[in-house]
Symmetry: C2
Subunit: 250 residues, 2 copies
């Protein structure tokens, strides 16, 4: 029997980054804690990280709806940060210190399997980010964490945040392959649902600690998910099984 | 004495690619020769490569002047190729074979020092392409030759070919550093002259075999060139000397 698995045509994998490739919550909490220790204030660092992240979606929506002109994530993170510092009654940071703290988003730790998994996947596919993070953030993060991207793709390049169609379709244009040969990899079902609606293939890699130790993980299958994996090494193995004809479409 | 060399602030290096990082002429001649051998036609392979390349500037100028709407390099290369096949009286190639030959520009060999030199430079700087080649071409070429870019930047991202201002200025925006902290690296003086006119730092790395064994190399200094190097390893050493205060501005 010929190997006619529908994922055999996949040429490129594009990855959501915050939460899927890197642990934003642990990394941000660590950075704000370090600032707090040196400045002598005490806060609930995890809540600070959670609230910073919670401002992210609504900020992007202001851009997506046109209320705000194009503003990159560094600038949106800074707007949210300035509000948070006020709400948490944190004072005593000068401009350089605030800017350094804002760039904590450029210094997020990869999940333990990320670098090894991406390195394996890079042998057989083009691999790139497809993140709402701006290019500079993604490049700095890749250098910080050793992420071996073939290139960095970002919503910034088309000035449309996910889940806008333009962001997903840009992968096909920039990587030079039809959209159904590009697979979106994400820990978030809504990202995959949007990607599929524009014709992409999808891989779901839930991250059980994205929101801390009490993260509730949704492992249920969906008709818009082609493949589910525990981590990037597992994803690399599952895709190898498909290429070797060991996994067939059920 | 404080080390106040003007190149100390450089954070990112952006590279011209065709001729500067890779040997387009030797690689293209090899590919067209291989097609010729299998199809039984004989031509002057070097001239074919030279004429293909000669069509490149005028094609881009048609886009730059607005005569042609945005067209990426893959498509421009194909237009030139179709004319060349006719002029060289080469027949017998089907569409797949023509398309494969056109993608020869995705399979160009790095100069012998390129991978090692870029790897060294990557330790201390963000490194990216800044090429008129489209993103897919540059990503495929990087995979083919092992070029360790932090990311791929291309004229395609802003739909303006070098030497348009937009192409050079995009490096500052996407890499998140002021334009005078970005250094353009090229084997072509006109590229560096344009880069400098928009505020970039410049490194000249002449490639004595770009146009074959009889390439005439222009080694004369220019007021728009900050540093001249024999190859990328030499460039990495010269920049290290500057960082270590061993080279001071004369």
């Amino acid at each position: 029997m010929a190997n006619d698995h529908p994922l055999l045509g996949v040429k490129a994998l594009t990855f959501d980054v915050f939460g899927t490739v890197v642990d934003w919550r642990g990394s941000i909490a660590r950075e704000i804690k370090s600032v707090g220790m040196s400045k002598g204030f005490i806060q609930d660092w995890d809540s600070f990280a959670d609230e910073w992240r919670a401002g992210y979606g609504p900020s992007m929506n202001r851009v997506r709806t046109g209320e705000l002109e194009w503003t990159n994530i560094d600038a949106l993170h800074r707007i949210i940060l300035d509000n948070l510092l006020e709400n948490f009654c944190i004072t005593g940071l000068n401009e350089d210190e605030k800017e350094h703290l804002n760039k904590a988003w450029h210094r997020l730790d990869p999940w333990p399997d990320s670098v090894e998994g991406l390195t394996l996947l890079k042998n057989d596919y083009m691999i790139s980010s497809l993140s709402n993070g701006n290019v500079a953030l993604l490049v700095n993060m890749a250098k910080y964490g050793g992420l071996p991207w073939d290139t960095v793709l970002s919503a910034e390049l088309v000035r449309h945040y996910k889940p806008d169609r333009e962001a997903y379709m840009s992968t096909s244009e920039f990587l030079g392959v039809p959209i159904d040969q590009v697979m979106m990899v994400a820990a978030h079902k809504n990202d995959l649902k949007a990607a599929r609606s524009f014709g992409m293939r999808t891989a779901y890699v839930p991250r059980p600690f994205e929101h801390g130790p009490n993260t509730e993980v949704d492992n249920s299958p969906e008709n818009y998910i082609d493949i589910m994996a525990n981590n990037f090494i597992d994803l690399s193995e599952k895709l190898a099984e498909i290429r070797n004809g060991l996994l067939t479409k059920n």
